[in-house]
Amino acid sequence: MSDDALPGGERRQLAPPIDESGALGWMRKNLFSSWGNGITTVVLIVAVGWILSGFLDWAVFTANFTAASGTECRGGGACWALIREKWRYIFFGSFPYEQHWRPFFAVIAMLAMLITSADRRMWNWRLLVIWGVGSVITFLLMFGQIHIPLSLVLFIALAVGGVGLSLRKAIADTGEMNAYRVLAAIGFVGLALRIAGVLPAWSLAIAPLSYVETSLWGGIPVTIILATYGLAFAFPYGVLLALGRRSNLPLIKGLCVGFIELIRGVPLISLLIMASVMLPLFLPSGTTIDKFLRAQVAVVLFAGAYIAEVIRGGLQSLPKGQFEAADAMGLNYLQKTLLIILPQAIRVVIPPLINTFIGFFKDTSLVLIIGIFDFLNTANQALVDPNWAGFPAEVYLFAAFIYFIFCYSMSRYSKYLEVELNKGTRR
């Protein structure tokens, strides 16, 4: 049309079609676009409404929030009074009752640690500080006393010095490098003297509170500790397994493949039972490893094998050109892996990785099989009280709700991470 032509000979830009906006427009378009669609909508709304009203009636309108015992509760709807009565046991298990503030603040410390380290801006040396401080607070509160052996301090000095020397060679100034050298030297000499028996087995005792052994731990702190430290150790371990599985060295490759297949081939429960029953048989008599620690190690081993396979998927998805470009620049294996390959591989596998994390968070509940009182187990134990017998639905629903909060947070975080890490990199 001649109207479309502007004096300059340019074509007039046409307006887009009118948007079907507004609530009514949206509903007409999406819910009632045809007879079939309209009927489906109505049927589904009625069904959902019917189920929801039944549930709300039970859970809210006829529910009993205040009963003093199970018999008072009977006949009505949900007995939330049970949760009111038992919540401290469900959350903190057999931890000494008057000391419940300790696991409470331990949980707060761990949540603070997890939430702050979820922020991408913290992903540098700060992460080490956050986890160091968070872990010390958590375990100090849970145990009440921590004994730090001298050899551990020396080992940490050696490790920090060594890692600093090798990784920050290019960036650090002389002062920082000298600090690493001193740390590494102190650590090395000290450890050598300790092994040679010159230094005695000193340990630094921090003991502000009464000691509470792990067999008394229970509830939500146990679940969070098992999941947090299980995954925190399993992740780097899984990355190493995945890299090992792609190694050119047949021995390393074989070991990694063997380990992954072996662990993946057995149920977690059998691994837990092995850790709790069989492992002590192999240890020299007199030495004991804490049951909680054994369960923790079993979780790490198990999760590591799964994480390794997820990471391997990411490694395989990278184009060969990325490896070649890194090689052609003269980067060595460690630099290539840490700077080029892993950052990209892990980005690719964030959704399945978080999926694995969520799975393992829930799988920690299997430790009840070897008598560790995680959150689900304490919830279960709350039902044993004969005064309050007969309300499993309320307790399990409550436990499910708490698990859901954690898992849904992780799922949302996964979404955020995908967007955040792909900022600008997507075309």
Binding site: K169, A170, I171, P319, G321, Q322, E324, A325, A326, D327, A328, M329, G330, L331, N332, Q335, L339, I340, P343, Q344, R347, L421, G424, T425, R426, R427
Partner: protein
């Protein structure tokens, strides 16, 4: 691209020497008895039909591919399985790939400074200065803080050239640098390469851009079935090819 006068390179030292290099992919003899001497500052264009071994040849020079017989000497260092030698050679040899291979998770600036900082242990500030001056040279300084995915193909390839130059290499290898580009972007990349050639860089370029070969090359090498079939100065190579296979190939790529 103006034609340039042929230079006399007979007195210049060799920086790359290939002596009866052989390589097989399984049963397939991909490089067969390759002998080649590249002088300092020499620009060599390698062409040939696909599968003729030209990419493999230049990839052997920085050990992205391993040759199985013969010797490759780069800048006085003989390539062997010794990692130290391989790393030494890779520091002196820059490479530009057909598919750019920029690191998508790093900004353009970080792509450029990565190798100087980690391989040459250069202070970050100095590396960034060099990177910015190189981005100026390839005419995209304003893209420094973007990510590779936000750039056009031609821009990405120019970044890749700058990234290789950041290591101050003695030798640059180009593996079909314009083959993955849209036609309108080929020129911007070739312009950068012509400029680089003018500065005296030693270059080995696998390409089918015969205009570039005419303008820049000291020598054009034609490869087929893993052999160097013919090599000559560009004028003579294009005007008067000797071998039947060369004639056939030139006929196919020049007349369509």
């Amino acid at each position: 691209m103006a034609a340039k006068a042929a230079r006399d390179l007979s007195n210049v030292a060799s920086v790359i020497e290939l002596k009866s290099v052989n390589k097989w992919f399984g049963q397939f003899h991909v490089l067969s008895d390759i002998n080649l001497d590249v002088k300092e500052g020499e620009k060599i264009v390698i062409c040939g039909p696909s599968g003729s071994g030209k990419s493999t040849l230049i990839r052997c020079i920085n050990r992205l591919e391993e040759h199985q017989a013969g010797d490759i000497i780069v800048d006085g260092v003989t390539l062997s399985n010794d990692v130290k030698n391989i790393e030494a050679i890779r520091r002196e040899v820059g490479m530009v790939f057909q598919s750019f291979n920029l690191f998508p998770h790093l900004t353009i600036l970080d792509n450029l400074t990565l190798a100087p900082i980690w391989v040459k242990k250069m202070p970050k500030k100095e590396a960034e200065e060099i990177a910015m001056s190189l981005l100026n040279r390839v005419r995209i300084p304003e893209q420094a803080l973007k990510y590779p995915g936000q750039l056009s193909g031609g821009q990405q390839q120019r970044v890749a050239i700058a990234r290789a130059l950041c290591m101050r290499p003695k030798i640059m290898l180009f593996d079909e640098p314009t083959s993955a580009l849209d036609p309108e972007m080929v020129k911007e990349v070739l312009d950068v390469m012509v400029e680089l050639a003018g500065e005296g860089m030693t270059m080995m370029v696998v390409t089918h851009e015969m205009g570039f070969a005419r303008a820049v090359a000291d020598r054009v090498i034609f490869m087929d079935r893993g052999e160097i079939v013919e090599q000559n100065e560009p004028e003579a190579f294009f005007a008067n090819p000797q071998n039947e296979r060369t004639k056939l190939f030139l006929g196919q790529i020049l007349h369509h």
